[in-house]
Symmetry: C2
Subunit: 274 residues, 2 copies
């Protein structure tokens, strides 16, 4: 098949961006487009310049026999901040306040449109940690954890609250949930784990950090290292959480009792590089 330059560039952009953080060797594209390696090299230089010029991400080339090219999410701090302000605004509504000063966030946290962008920020900020897989606990964190895993090109493991037949043999622990002060249970399938890997914890919400501490405990049983923790919303109080190192997109200061609205803001540390 004879291909034009603009065709190759267009098709490669589609393929690379569909599978972020996944290395494609040049010979794959040479074969796909019936083009010489020198042409593909030039195409990839153009792709890199296009993607970066329009702020659509980052294209990385890796030299050598095992080398190739990959697309990486790379949202700017300015765009991230602007997007998070919109989300805070969307959530800061009186009708979202639930009994017990909970805030209704489920519609936003499971809408692919918003979740895509949140996980783009998480992937941009947490990619350097080099995790082998993402772990979350059911249920509300699953959408953002899945999309973050996709953006990082790694698998997702979901810890369950109950022990399910379909999980096979599991390791179970009890832990104290910071937000409900109740003893809770968490199980991870043995078949989902392999020893000595690096895990990135992603969840929707953190108050005391008990759930994340629970995940850390269960990962220890598998000899897995937690390389980082990312959450969408963390509460400002308690300042001292069960874990010290985490990255949050949004900070929740509580409920404004005068105006009866939740107070949320993009987390100040957004531009801190981990």
């Amino acid at each position: 098949m004879k291909t034009k330059r603009s065709e190759r560039i267009g098709a490669m952009i589609r393929i690379l961006t569909e599978n972020p953080n996944t290395l494609y060797s040049y010979p794959i594209f040479c074969e796909m487009f019936g083009a010489a390696k020198s042409s593909i090299s030039e195409d990839i230089a153009s792709i890199k310049s296009i993607i970066e010029k329009f702020g659509l991400g980052q294209v990385e080339t890796v030299a050598g026999a095992a080398g190739g090219v990959r697309f990486l999410q790379n949202i700017s701090d300015e765009d991230a901040h602007k997007f998070l302000l919109e989300i805070c605004d969307k959530l800061s509504k009186e009708e979202r306040i639930l009994p017990g000063d909970f805030v209704y966030t489920v519609d936003v946290l499971s809408n692919p449109k918003y979740v895509s962008k949140m996980s783009e920020i998480l992937a941009t900020k947490l990619r350097k940690l080099g995790a082998d897989f993402v772990i979350t606990v059911e249920t509300k964190g699953i959408p953002v954890a899945l999309m973050t895993a996709k953006n990082l090109g790694i698998p997702l493991v979901i810890a369950r609250r109950d022990n399910k037949l379909s999980e096979g043999p599991v390791v179970t622990i009890n832990y104290e949930s910071g937000s409900s002060n109740r003893l809770q249970t968490m199980s991870v399938a043995k078949m989902a784990m392999s020893q000595g890997k690096k895990a990135l914890v992603i969840d929707d919400f953190m108050k005391g950090g008990g759930t994340v501490k629970g995940i850390c405990g269960i990962m220890k049983e598998f000899n897995v290292t937690i390389v980082g923790v990312g959450v969408i919303i963390a509460t400002a109080e308690p300042e001292q959480k069960n874990i010290s190192d985490y990255y949050s997109l949004i900070t929740m200061d509580g409920i404004d009792k005068n105006h009866n609205i939740p107070i949320l803001r993009p987390t100040q540390s957004l531009n801190i590089t981990i």
Copy 2:
């Protein structure tokens, strides 16, 4: 900003494919690239030809004042079949058989790499139903439901097994689960629903169809119409399920007791157009 043709094509492909089934008006691109509408029109004709030539999807233009261009997933029956054969092969392993003749599928059903492709097939086949949102029941179906919703450019609603504070007021029903023959509970947040919409049910697994029937029941409470049902794996037995119309990617015939492996195959009806 002065832009070249190949730059505009590359950048537009990234933007359009990132948000499938989302209409972009031409003036958005005219402004973004400082180009005349006639240039953008030509670019889009090229994009359509590139995407379709390499089997990367479909590009649809809509004429008129409210018109524009959108990208649609469009995997061929041949590619879908080939991919599903791989998945069946991956799952047809002795070590995946669990007590009670369950099959361990969780690793595959939560791996973004596989889930992306499965939801690409579901979106291709079920897009014409014109759903306003996707609904699933926690937990294992959430990844594929989320990605299908993303591919269709619509929101996801997750029904919960337990009544959670964070969901706000809910509607709850009891239903009989086909696979466990137990009475189960399902709740949907009132704030996640609006009257008179069209829902597409997506789940990971169907045996008797009790869970899907439960979803249909709860949707009726909200005056929501179920326009279709898509699942990853459906069991061949019982042939008579609680719902008659559904679309499955893979059929599970049971366990081969001689070779001690699960028997799975791409569903024959794959190329039936709904």
